[in-house]
């Protein structure tokens, strides 16, 4: 299909879609909930809640090796979920999909296994200054352990990575690049395809932290050509305690296991243990198979809406909120990259984020306040954090109006 054949986004019926999310009907302090904390976790559609419920009620049984009916059925469901993840991110094979407890576990797995196998003294790992701590601290620990050095790609005041600086950082000592796809604090969509290509030109593998991208962007790991892609299930309308690590088969085969125990072995004797095939080599112990089923369902739900349609609507929300927030005097938005998702970090003159967040909460609006686990990012701006409002497709223009009205009310109160 050439570019001109690309299907046009279809307008989503948001009113109907909102009915898929039972929690959106909740009232907070007597007011209709406005949920703008999607960067922290997304709400769950009924199909996900029901899939989890049904799996517990009808199918629960430990996966793999069970010869009885339920175990084999549950195993099938677990593997169907894996195939759904594989399809969603267009991974070449299901063996390359490792279920984890979340993006943090996925990154820790690579940080441990990769660095154990390949990182040596004086080597370097590159992250960026906008990383969430979970894509920074694991590398820092690995570097400390091996006597290696952690380097960081800086960004400009708009919140865009400086690729020229990145190019200068890449050198023969660089062993891996670990960069976020979308900044959780600023919303910037990083040019990861270019970042990956630049690293690959020097034979350096790249891990992408997709925690804030998986719910907004179309992910095609083959097109990106990333070596690892990590994300959490709960940020993409799935259950908490689920996550994924995609890794190219050759890496996953080469890396030593991260955790050990049941299921990840082939043969065990006191002399030696051989490991199971992929993906099980990296899934020690009983996995969160029911969570995985829920995640698979969430991805199906999202695919049903159409990522392109979701993106088109979220872009409208982004543009609308950007314009509306700009009308508020004394409000400064951090993160004005040309390419961004509907995440708004802002500060208001004379008001601490905690005070704004507290009052918004009382008005029924859920936002997040603080550093959002990105200390170095806020150090760039010489501040300690922000009020973050993160929107997804079930949010509405009306909710944005209400937020702006509430912010004006708070400003008045503080005068």
């Amino acid at each position: 299909m050439n570019k001109t054949d690309k299907p046009q986004p279809v307008e989503l019926n948001i009113k109907r879609i909102r009915k898929d999310f039972p929690i959106l009907k909740e009232r907070i302090y007597g007011r209709r909930l406005v949920y703008f904390d999607n960067g922290a976790t997304t709400q769950k559609p009924k199909v996900v809640i029901e899939a989890i419920n049904k799996a517990h009620r009808q199918y629960n049984s430990n996966v793999h090796r069970g010869i009885h009916f339920l175990s084999s059925q549950m195993t099938d469901m677990y593997e169907v979920a894996r195939a759904r993840v594989q399809r969603f991110i267009n991974a070449p094979s299901p063996q390359e999909i490792i279920f984890t407890s979340g993006v943090t576990a996925s990154i820790n797995l690579v940080a441990y296994s990769f660095c154990e196998a390949y990182l040596k003294k004086n080597d370097e790992i590159i992250v960026s200054e906008m990383e969430h701590h979970s894509n920074l601290v694991p590398w820092q620990i690995a570097c400390d352990k091996k006597g290696a050095r952690l380097r960081a790609i800086p960004f400009n005041d708009r919140g865009e990575l400086l690729l020229e600086e990145y190019k200068k950082l890449l050198n023969s000592k660089t062993k891996l690049v670990a960069v976020t796809h979308v900044s959780n604090s600023l919303g910037t969509i990083n040019p990861i395809k270019e970042i990956i290509a630049l690293a690959h030109a020097k034979n350096i593998p790249v891990l992408i932290d997709g925690a804030q991208a998986i719910q907004h962007e179309l992910i095609d790991v083959q097109d990106l050509d990333c070596d690892f892609y990590a994300f959490s299930g709960h940020k993409v309308y799935g259950p908490t305690g689920t996550g994924v690590l995609y890794g190219k088969e050759r890496w996953l085969n080469d890396l030593p296991p991260y955790q050990s125990g049941g299921d990840m072995i082939d043969r065990v004797s006191f002399e030696r243990t051989t490991y199971n095939d992929l993906p099980f080599k990296f899934e020690a112990g009983t996995p969160n198979y029911i969570g995985a089923v829920g995640l698979g369902e969430a991805l199906e739900y999202l695919s049903g809406l159409g990522l392109e349609n979701v993106r088109a609507y979220e872009k409208k929300l982004l543009d609308y909120a950007t314009a509306k927030l700009a009308e508020i005097d004394g409000l400064k938005v951090y993160g004005t990259a040309k390419n961004k998702v509907a995440i708004f970090s802002f500060l208001m003159d004379g008001l601490h984020p905690y005070d704004v967040g507290t009052l918004l909460d009382r008005l029924g609006i859920a936002v997040r306040t603080g550093h959002h686990c990105t200390h170095p990012l806020w150090a760039h701006y010489g501040t300690e954090g922000s009020i973050r409002s993160s929107l997804v497709f079930y949010n509405t223009f009306k909710e944005i109006d209400y937020l702006c009205e509430a912010l004006r009310q708070i400003q008045k109160m503080s005068k």
Binding site: Y354, G370, E384
Partner: protein, 142 residues
């Protein structure tokens, strides 16, 4: 004025039902603006109340048998609550502080505005105010 009387005054000022939360927050923020800022030398790591979402600095001294507090915060809401606490407890003897039950927090409905998770700064400040007073009293009586 006794701590009792001051608390009664505060309860009058902050009267009204829980539904008036917006008004109460507004009052706190206005009060917060009246709290004298602590000098920069006081705003050091050691004086930070640990484990809080909001940077809040705390210190106390014991002079002429009385306890004096120096508290500052980046949050206007917390500063407002600190103003009220200082009105009741600042410049009192350790015994007075020990014998003062801070009932105004409940009777004004302020407790509801400061859930333990969200505003742990405030509860930690109160705890330190009371603990310091008890320690000063114990030291003096040695």
């Amino acid at each position: 004025m006794t701590t009792q009387k001051i608390q009664q005054e505060i309860i009058k000022e902050f009267g009204g039902s829980a539904k008036d939360w917006l008004k109460k927050y507004g009052q706190l923020m206005k009060l917060g603006k009246t709290l004298p800022s602590a000098e920069e030398a006081h705003k050091i790591e050691d004086n930070l109340v640990k484990g809080c979402q909001v940077r809040t600095w705390y210190g106390s001294t014991f002079k002429d048998g009385k306890v004096f507090y120096k508290i500052d915060s980046l949050s206007l809401i917390i500063k407002g609550a600190v103003v009220l606490l200082l009105r009741v407890l600042n410049g009192r003897t350790p015994e007075e502080i020990k014998n003062t039950e801070l009932y105004f927090i409940d009777q004004t409905g302020l407790r509801e505005l400061f859930s333990p998770v969200k505003a742990n700064s405030l509860w930690k400040v109160i705890n330190r105010m009371q603990t310091d007073a008890a320690n000063y009293g114990a030291k003096r009586n040695k």
